[in-house]
């Protein structure tokens, strides 16, 4: 061998295998990080690209379409406190029974609801719209403002945030309901943007 001539050592089989495993692991980590970043950033923006949250399955597939579109019931008939209080309440099964003690005998979901009513238990609905605990959203004030502004009844206002629930198969969230969403709407309507308006 001439002095200075460099002969690279041939890697042995085990070394190659180790390198291969390391490369595969690093590639895997890289892919996971990219996927996570995509998920975090896109869900922060409001529309997750991967693992998009679909409308949740409810314990009883309540058809808003039948009640609102076909029967013409108001949102406020069931969500009774929405015009008066912070929360829009979900009715007790007792309210369902005012009609369903007589109608809907042939449906399975109705008999499920009736048996819950007879046992004195409530339906464990899956919550669709939720703001974090440090945000205090008050339905009453928003409904009052928009119905006065647009000169409409309370039930017409709900769609501003909740979309057209009447034609939804399963209820889903249509607005991001992030702070940016709240603040831009507050600015458009000259509503207070002081932190203590919602955060306390």
């Amino acid at each position: 061998m001439i002095p200075g001539d460099f002969q690279p050592k041939k890697p042995t089989g085990t070394q190659l295998a180790k390198l291969g495993v390391l490369g595969a692991v690093l590639l895997g980590v890289f892919i996971v990080v990219v996927l996570l970043l995509t998920f975090v950033i896109s869900s922060w923006l409001g529309q997750p690209v991967i693992f998009a949250r679909e409308a949740p399955d409810q314990p009883i597939a309540f058809p808003h379409e039948t009640h609102v579109k076909e029967l013409g019931m108001d949102c406020t008939f069931c969500h009774r406190t929405v015009e008066k209080e912070a929360a829009a309440s979900v009715p007790a099964t007792g309210l369902c029974m005012t009609c369903h003690s007589a109608v809907g005998d042939e449906l399975e979901s109705i008999s499920k609801m009736r048996s819950l009513y007879e046992d004195g238990r409530s339906i464990h609905w899956v919550r669709v719209h939720r703001v974090p605990d440090h945000v205090h959203f008050v339905h009453e004030a928003h409904i009052r403002y928009f119905s006065e502004k647009e000169g409409t009844e309370a039930k017409e206002v709900c769609a501003t945030c909740h979309g057209d629930v009447a034609s939804m198969d399963k209820v889903e969230q249509v607005r991001p309901l992030k702070m940016g969403d709240c603040v831009s709407c507050h600015k458009q309507n000259n509503a207070p943007t002081d932190c203590a308006t919602c955060h306390y």
Partner: protein, 246 residues
């Protein structure tokens, strides 16, 4: 009512009996975790309002003095400029607001406060199972790692304002729905809450009368220039001459 409100308090030391009613009311209203003995020993107990007790005089003429101390909502608050994330700021109703979701827990504000009424959550708050359902839904439960302090029961102010707007009436001075929990709980009416921008409110009338030369009013540590929104009325004492201010 004035266009913009400037909320404030008057605390009459002469009436305070040191019964701790305000402390308990505040604890219940504002979802403050239960302070154990070890929390006090570590100086980490959370009390948005506390009663400081001072003994005065020699036996047999010993007198106990009580001073309820809550956030003074200083007009020139030392806690505000030190916050790197603007988690504490002054709103246009004269209140020093703590924004929990902004706070990152540097604790600079607590170091700056001369009244020691800012508290850091060193632990995740815990309540016994039997008390879980008594938490106030209108108040955020503060998690570990953030500061908290007296908010003048801002949730009650917001609700009263909203309800007054809904019913088309003005906010009433001294309304029990508007008053903070400590004010409602005080058995001797030694704490009064109101709007300093309304010249007819009880606090404004007392401020007008007592903050003059010779009046009983003073601000706690007012020589520091914090411009507090809480006025204290010193004890009326015939036998002992009490110095003006602190």
């Amino acid at each position: 009512m004035a266009d913009s409100n400037k909320w404030g308090m008057v605390v009459d030391i002469d009436r305070c009996t040191g019964c701790q009613g305000c402390v308990v009311a505040c604890q219940a209203e504002n979802n403050i975790p239960i302070n154990l003995e070890e929390h006090f020993n570590q100086r980490r107990a959370i009390q948005w309002i506390r009663i400081e007790r001072y003994w005065e005089g020699e036996y047999p003429n010993v007198k106990a003095r009580f001073i309820p101390i809550m956030c003074q909502h200083c007009g020139n608050a030392p806690c505000e400029p030190v916050c790197p994330v603007y988690a504490t700021y002054h709103n246009d109703e004269g209140m020093n607001v703590q924004v929990y979701n902004r706070c990152i827990g540097t604790r600079f504000c607590a170091n700056g406060c001369p009244y020691h009424i800012r508290f850091f959550n060193f632990w995740e708050p815990e309540w016994p199972e039997s008390l879980k359902n008594q938490l106030n839904p209108d108040v955020t439960v503060r998690s570990r790692g953030i500061m908290e302090k007296c908010s003048f029961c801002v949730q009650r102010i917001q609700r009263s304002t909203r309800e007054a707007e809904r019913d088309g009436v003005d906010l009433e001075d001294g309304d029990r729905g508007l008053n903070p929990a400590c004010v409602n709980a005080c058995a001797t009416n030694s704490i009064i809450f109101g709007n300093f921008n309304d010249p007819n409110s009880e606090v404004s009338i007392i401020k007008e009368k007592e903050m003059k030369e010779g009046g009983r009013g003073y601000g706690l540590l007012e020589n520091l220039g914090t411009d507090p929104n809480v006025i204290y009325l010193k004890k009326v004492d015939e036998s002992v001459e009490v110095g003006h201010g602190h």
